[in-house]
Each structure stands twice: as C-alpha cells, then as structure tokens.
C-alpha cells in the first residue's frame, strides 16, 4: 500500500480497504524505522493523526475532499506552517513558529492531505547536496537499497556502511528521501536552481518544477524571488499532475502568480508521441557528463525516435554562461532577501545590545552558516555601486540571452527538450564534502538552472539504474505554462523506462530487529 500511486491509495481509502489513520500510522512507523536517513526535521505525529482522524470521518460520511484526502504528505522546512516549527535548517530560524500557512501548504490541507512532517534541507536551500543544514546531512535511501548493495558487494551490516552512504542531492534532499523511502506519497520542495530536480534524480523519484508564476510562493521563505518555485516530488508522473492540479493557480497573496485560469488536468492513459518534436541541446553534452548518463540520454533519444517522434539536435548557445549568470543573480538576490533576518521581529536574536547595528551584526554572525554568509557577502560585492553595472546588470542581460535561446528553440517547432538532470549518479558523502558548497553547486546545477533562469517548467524522471545500482534521471523542459504537454511526454517516457522500485526491505528488517516491530512494505 505504501508503494502505491496516489490514485490507487485514494480509491483504497474511498472503498474502505484502508483507513486514513492506518495509513498515517504506517507512515509514521516507517519514518521511525528510517530515522537514520535524517530526512525529517520535524515529524508532526499528533497533528498528522488528528488530520487523519478527521479525514476518516469524512470518508465515513462519503464526503471526501478529493484525491489527496487522507494522504500523508511532507513539506520542505522552508515553507511556513502554522504552529509547526519552520527552521530552513538554520540557527537563524531555530524555534521560529510561523503564524500562517504557506499558500501551497494551505491548499494541500484544504484538500484533506495529512501533513506528516517538515523535511531536511541545505541551510536556506543553498546547496546541492542537502548536507549543509544544522540538523545534519540527509542520507540517500538508495545507499541502503538491495540494488546498490548487491552491486557494491556490501555485507548486510548497516554499521559498516556508515562511512559510505550517499548524498541525496539538494537542496530538497529531505523531501526526495521521504518520498523515495515511502514515508509519504508526495512532498513539497523548492526549486531555485534545480533544488527539486537534482535530489529527484539522485533518489529515483519524479521532481517537477512548474512554470514560474503558476504556483504561489507566498509562505515560501524566499531565496531568489525571480527564480524560486515550489517543487513537487512524487513517485510517478500521474501523482505529480494530481498535486499540481491542487497547487497551481493565481494567488492574490502572491502578485507574481499569473492571473490566467488554471484547469487541473488528468493525463491521458494512451499517449502517442509520434507527432512530437524532441530537442536535444548539444551544449548540454559537457566534458564532466558521466558516460553512463550519456548512454542513458542517448537511449532515451532513440526511444523517442523509434516511436515516431522527430528528434533533432538544437542549440542553446549561451548555456556555458548560464551557471555564471545564475551565480551572480542568485548571490545578489540572496543578499537582499537575507537582509530581513535581523533578530528583531522573529528568529534568533543575539545578546549583544550596544546598538541596533551591532545587534544585527552579531545576530547574523551567530545565525548563518558559512555558505549563507558567503553568498550574502558575494551578493553585496556584486551590488556595490562600482560593480552594479559590471556584474548585476550584466548578468541580467545574459539572463535575457539565455531566456531568448529557449524562446528561439521552442518557436522553431520543438515541443519538449530532453537533457540529463545531473552529471552522474549520487556520490558518497565523504567524496561530496571534499569540494566546497559553491563549487559543488556550480557543477551540480549545470543542467537544471537554465530552466529557472527562463522560468520554464521542467521535470526530472527516474530513468535507469547506473552500474552501481543508483538512479539516473533525465530532464524534460517544456514550454511556459504547458505542463500538460510536458507531463504527458514524461508519463509516456516513464512507462517506457520502467524504472525499478527501490528495494529497502533489508534495511527495514534491520530496523525491525532493533525495534521489535514488524514493518512491511507489501501490506
């Protein structure tokens, strides 16, 4: 049941095969059993059970609110949730309890979803590994999978693997790990440079970044206002479409959401890609791309062509500058957005009280980690009067060039672009931390952040396992506000790819032995 798709569970709930409280309990037990993954910062056990009970009452009365009623979902810890601590994995907001729900969270709750917990992330969503938060790094559930361990010849003692576990990717690593390890059916992430798609690819789940302006950012603690989008992580494309249907649409509280009416859609079950034109951007084949990912990407292109689609090579000439442009714009907007953390109205406050300036400085010194402080300082550098034209305005001009690249490609008849999501499969944590956060982000965001720069929708679909038995994902980039087309193509591809289910039973058996509680994924 825990492995089922949203629609199946919803049907099961309606038919009484399982009750919302049972489902909730199972997810909560599984969270306890998979605690070592460190995917959750806060597990809202009491609230979740209460919500599940209310959902149960609704089902008994035959008045379920929809497909999400009674479904356990997780939310990344940079979305505000009433009465539930929202930390952004930072000392600055430790203990901060928002007095309101983010619009997307409210929409989920209005549909009866059961909020099971807040997930771990990189501090303030800055990073590509989910390793730099104050609550520690998130472990990729695939580190403990049968598939990985068989390929790597590991024996079954979890303790031996303590040094070789893999990162989830980031910054929505907690959400990706939560969905991947079956502890919830859907999770919210945020996507500024690839923060939803990157961990989705590493954890073998579907990661959708909607078009900028489609989903409300109200309540999402902002990183880069012109690029942030709430992201959706699910185990299959249909589920992503279901969740998008609930979340998308104009929000009067977020003036950057478009006012066009949004109609939730159901993806067709029979899909013909014969009339499609798939673009393969040649600049995305960079020297650092692993040969396995390249192979998977080529095979996917062949798949589309054999099905009758027109697969052509296209050019996005400014691709090589997009990561630099992103780096400058991101730092500049971060420097501006982080200015609100001064300790006065919320969050951490230093004991320094000689003056407001020194209190602010001390608070921010104590509250932010190296990564955040580094970006704030770089951002301030780029925004200095003498640098403003040279860096910030220049980057904005380059951004237009990048966005125009996409416009040109899509207006030449291409429907969807097909690219890798990451350079390679997930690396072990000990290897990942050898390079600093900024270098890693520059490497890992390379395929994903152009979609944020241009505001286009993009989805990472788990495609195949690498030689090590780890997930490799491919990314589809669509036209603005054409999520229906994007997800239809993605669904077709998902069906063809037949990505294997994560086999975690061994890990759970080990956890059983520790907790004397039988947890099975097959019931």
């Amino acid at each position: 049941m825990l492995r089922a798709a949203l629609r199946e569970v919803s049907t099961a709930l309606k038919e009484g095969q399982v009750s919302p409280t049972e489902l909730c309990q199972r997810c909560l037990s599984l969270i306890k059993a998979t605690k070592c993954l460190n995917a959750y910062i806060t597990v809202t056990e009491d609230t979740a059970l209460r919500q599940a009970e209310e959902s149960e009452k609704r089902y008994r009365r035959g008045q379920s609110l929809g497909d999400l009623d009674g479904i356990p979902v997780a939310v990344k810890d940079n979305f505000s949730t009433t009465g539930i601590e929202t930390t952004c994995a930072s000392n600055m907001l430790k203990g901060y309890i928002p007095p309101y729900n983010a619009t997307v969270v409210q929409k989920l709750l209005d549909q009866g979803a059961v909020l099971i917990g807040k997930t771990n992330l990189d501090e303030f969503a800055m990073g590509s590994g989910s390793t730099d938060g104050i609550f520690g790094p998130v472990r990729n559930p695939w580190s403990y999978s049968k598939q990985y361990r068989e390929k790597c010849g590991q024996n079954s003692h979890l303790e031996n693997e303590d040094s070789s576990w893999l990162i989830t990717g980031g910054s929505s690593g907690g959400s990706a790990a939560a969905v991947s390890s079956f502890t919830c059916f859907a999770a919210l992430g945020s996507d500024t440079g690839g923060s939803t798609r990157n961990p989705a690819a590493h954890c073998g789940v579907v990661g959708l970044k909607p078009t900028y302006g489609l989903v409300s950012r109200h309540g999402l603690i902002p990183l880069v206002n012109s690029m942030d989008v709430p992201g959706i992580l699910t185990r299959c494309v249909d589920d992503a479409a279901t969740v998008l249907g609930v979340l998308a649409g104009h929000d009067p509280k977020d003036s950057t959401t478009v006012q066009d009416p949004f109609n939730p859609f159901k993806l067709p079950s029979v899909i013909d890609v014969g009339k499609l034109c798939i673009g393969i951007p040649k600049e995305y084949h960079i020297p650092g791309l692993s040969s396995e990912t390249l192979k998977v990407w080529s095979k996917a292109a062949d798949l589309f062509e054999n099905a009758g689609a027109r697969v052509i090579e296209v050019s996005l000439p400014h691709t090589c500058y997009s990561i630099v442009c992103y780096h400058v714009l991101c730092a500049a907007e971060v420097a501006s957005n982080m200015a609100r953390f001064d300790g006065l109205e919320y969050g951490h406050r230093s004991n320094m009280d000689k003056s407001t300036e020194s209190m602010y400085a001390a608070t921010r010194r104590e509250g932010f980690n190296d990564v955040v402080r580094g970006r704030i300082l770089s951002g301030n550098y780029f925004l200095l009067k003498q640098n403003y034209e040279k860096y910030f305005i220049k980057a904005q001009k380059v951004r237009r060039l990048i966005a125009n690249d996409f416009v040109n490609v899509f207006s030449s008849g291409v429907d969807v672009l097909l690219t890798p999501t990451t350079l390679r499969d997930a690396v072990p944590y000990v290897e990942f931390i050898k390079e600093d956060n900024r270098t890693r982000s520059a490497q890992d965001d390379i395929f994903t952040q152009a979609a944020n720069m241009s505001g286009l929708p993009a989805a990472s679909i788990p495609t195949a396992l690498s030689e090590k038995g780890l997930p490799i994902g491919l990314q589809f980039v669509g036209r603005a506000f054409q999520e229906l087309q994007l997800l239809t193509v993605a669904k077709w591809f998902e069906k063809q790819a037949k990505f294997p289910i994560l086999q975690l039973q061994e890990m759970l058996d080990h956890a059983d032995a520790l907790s004397h509680q039988k947890i099975s994924l097959s019931s």
Binding site: S255, Q259, S298, Y321, H327, V328, S378, K397, D436
Partner: protein
Amino acid sequence: MWALRGGRCLRAAWSWGGSRLARGATGGRQIDQNPEWQLEEQKPLPQKKVTMELLDHLERLALVDFRNWEGVERLEKAIQFADQLHEVNTEGIEPMDSVLENRCLYLRGDNITEGNCTKELLQNASQTAEEYFEAPPGNIPLPKLEERESFLQDSN
C-alpha cells in the same frame, strides 16, 4: 571538471566542435559521443586582490562577517567565477528583471482584508514591550575596524 580547483581559476574556453550527429547501430539518431565543448586550460588569471578596505566595507554593508581567510577566499573565487560574464557580448540587450515582464503584475483593490494580529506577530519576537518590538539604541554606527571584533582586524 571545469569548476575551480584549488585556489586558481581555470578560465574555460569552449570551442565548438561543429555539429556531428552519429547514426547508431539501429539507425537511430544518437547524441554525439564527443563533448561539444573542448576544455582549454589557459594561464590562470591574475588573482584579483580584494583590499582590506573593501572587506571592511562589505562586512558593514552586509552585517555578516568573513570569519576567517577561507571566507575571503570564497569571495575571491566567487568574483573570479563571475568575471567570466564579461566574455559575453551583450551589446543592445536590455537587462531582464523577471520572466513575466510581458505581463502586468496583479494589483488587488486597496481594501483591508486582514489584520488585527498583533499578538501573533509579537509572539515570535524575543524582546517586546507592550505592543512594540524592542531594539537596542539606534543611530550608533558599527565600530570602526580597529575597534570591533573582526577577524579582519587581526589580519591587519
């Protein structure tokens, strides 16, 4: 990998290999097996020296500290990385603020729809007095570098 290594900045120059689309065994179109970009390592750029004055200025503006030499190096690397932007020809290009620039921002009517939440808002502040957020005395500038505790001072 064409990211920064060690303390040096590798300026990556990309030369286009020309479009080659190899046909695979099945006759299907394959992604070219050779990367489009050739990495050409050039001599490392002269490291831009950031002056102590600039670092102090940034610490004051940002109200965060560098903490140690690693922090300063991080900034230097960030600047070198960003310098690659200057290779792009942006003559006649307008800066782009938002991808939704061709649409009008939503403006709602000037009606009061919510408020009266003083208690909730004050709850999150650590120091309040009646209905005020309490702050230490203002209008006192941050102490000069010589007088404040900063790693920059020690390295002067």
